[in-house]
Symmetry: C2
Subunit: 312 residues, 2 copies
Amino acid sequence: MTEFGLIEFAARLFADADRHGWEAIGDDCTVLPVGGGEVIALTTDMLVEGVHFLRDATAPQQLGRKALAVNLSDVAAMGLQPVATLLSVALPRGAEDGWARGFIEGYSELSHREGVALVGGDTTSSEHGIAINVVAIGRGAAGHVKRRSAAHTGDMIFVAGELGASALGLADILAGRTDTPYAAVHRNPEAQTAEGVWFGGRGEVHAMMDLSDGLASDLLHMLRASSCGAEIDVGTIPAVGGDVRAAVCGGEDYKLLLTAAPEAAVALSRDFRARFGRELYRVGRIIAGNPRIRWIERGAEIHPDWHGFMHF
Amino acid sequence: MTEFGLIEFAARLFADADRHGWEAIGDDCTVLPVGGGEVIALTTDMLVEGVHFLRDATAPQQLGRKALAVNLSDVAAMGLQPVATLLSVALPRGAEDGWARGFIEGYSELSHREGVALVGGDTTSSEHGIAINVVAIGRGAAGHVKRRSAAHTGDMIFVAGELGASALGLADILAGRTDTPYAAVHRNPEAQTAEGVWFGGRGEVHAMMDLSDGLASDLLHMLRASSCGAEIDVGTIPAVGGDVRAAVCGGEDYKLLLTAAPEAAVALSRDFRARFGRELYRVGRIIAGNPRIRWIERGAEIHPDWHGFMHF
C-alpha cells in the first residue's frame, strides 16, 4: 500500500464517523469552526531520518527551522495566522544531547521570529533513527479561510514569489556544491505567513494553497478540488535562473498559489506590491473543464513532461 | 540530556514567547479558550517500535487501539470530550500493507466506539522502525476543565477504578503467559472518557489527571502542581488481586485520579455508582505541606520504596 493507499483506506474506514464540526480532510489544514466567528486549523507532518534528512548532512538548527516552516506554510495557505505548535521527537542514543539541543534551538528561533508558541509535545528514545512530528495550529476569522476547492472559472492564477530555487539548491547539494545561495534556500525554506494572513483578508482571493510539490503537481490538486481546469502562460512563470522545469516540477518552494476574481487582479497585485515590496506574479487563469493544466507558450499549447515532485 | 532535560531546555527557550491564550504546559492537555465559553484541548504522544512496542509481540489492531486510548485518556483527564485526532505514521518496508491496515483498523474501531473523528495526519516511509504520532483534541465548556493544580487542602482523593491490572498483565506477558485476563488488560487499555466528561460537569471535583505511571508517581505530579501533600490510606487502595505494589507502582492503568471537596464526597460516590454501576474509590485526602505522599497503614505512617513507572 502506498502513502496515498493508506490515506484512502483510513478515509474509507472513517467515512461514516461523526466529524464534530471538523471539515473534511483534503486541504492544507483541517478546520474547526469555534465560537465568535472564528476557526481553529491544524496540520501535521512527520520527518524521519534517512528519508527526509540525513543527520550528518543537515545541521540540526536548520532542520528545526525547516520542520517548523513547512507546517507554518500549511497554515498560511489557509489564510490563517499560525499561533502555536506541538512537537514530538524520538531520539536514538547519540542524538539526545547536542543534536536535540541544536534542533530545538532552530525550532525556537523560527518560532520566535514568527510569534508562534510551543504548547505541547512528547519526547521519547528511539532504537534507530530520529523521528520528528510537528503539529501547527492556526486561528482566525472563519470568513478568511481560503480553500483549495474555491477556484472559479475565470479566476486569475497567481504565485506569491519566484519558483525553483529550492530544486536548484537540492541539485547543487547533490552535486557537492553545498554553499551556493540556492543550497541555502533549500536548507532554509521560508513560510509566507504574513502573505497568507494578508490574502486571508482579501475577499477577491478565492482558492489558495502552498507549493510544496511543484506547480505542476499542486495546481492539479487545486483543480481537482475545484472541478476546473487551468491555462498557464509558461512565459510568465517566475522561474529562478530562467529554469522553468525547476520552477514547475521542483518541490519545497513554499510559495503561495492562489486564484482571484479577474476584475480585482490589478488592485490585488498593486496592493501586494505596496504591502510587501515584491511582485505578485500572474501566471494564468482558471478555465472550465476537466482538472488539467494547459501549458501555453507564445499562444499555443505545448505538451511538456512536467510532473511534480514526490516526497515519498 | 534526558527526556525531562530536553523538555526543560525547550521550556526555557520558549519562556518569553507569546502564548496566544494557550495555557502553560504541565497538564494532561494544553488548553486554548475559544469563543462561546468553550475550550479546545490538545495532547500528543509518539510511539516508536522497539521502545514502546515490538512488532512481532503486539497485534497491530491492538496497538492501534492502545495508541489512541492513551491520548483519549489525557483528554478525559481534563474533564473534556475527545472529538477528533490526527495520526502520523512512518512505515518501513514490510509494514506498509498488512501491518498498517491492521493498525488503522484497530485505531478506527476504537475511534468509532468513542465517537472520535480522524481529521488529519501524515504518512511516510521509514528506513528503520515504525514510528507513530497521535494527537487527540478535546472540546468542552471552559468551566468544566479540571487541572492537576487545583487540589485543595482537605479534599478527598479518589481513583475511578481498580489499579494494577496492567502491571500484572505486563508481568504475565514477560513470563510468557500471554493469554491471561491481566495480559489482555495490558494490551487493551481503556480510557475513562465517559467518566472524565462526567467529572468535568461536577463542580465539587477539583483536580484530576489520569494514572499512566502509577499512583506513587502521578499523585506526586498533582501534589507538586497544587503545592500540597497527601495522605493515602493503603488499606483503601483498590488493588487488583490484592497486589498493592502493582497498584501503586504499576503504569498504564489509565484510571482517573481526582480530588473533591470533602462535604461532597458521599454524594459524588453515590452519583458515580448510580451513573456507571461501579465504585468510585476514596483512597486518602489532601493535606497542607510539601508535595509528598504519606502512606498510612492501620493508622500509622509506613515508608515503603514505592516509586512510579518510568516509560523512558
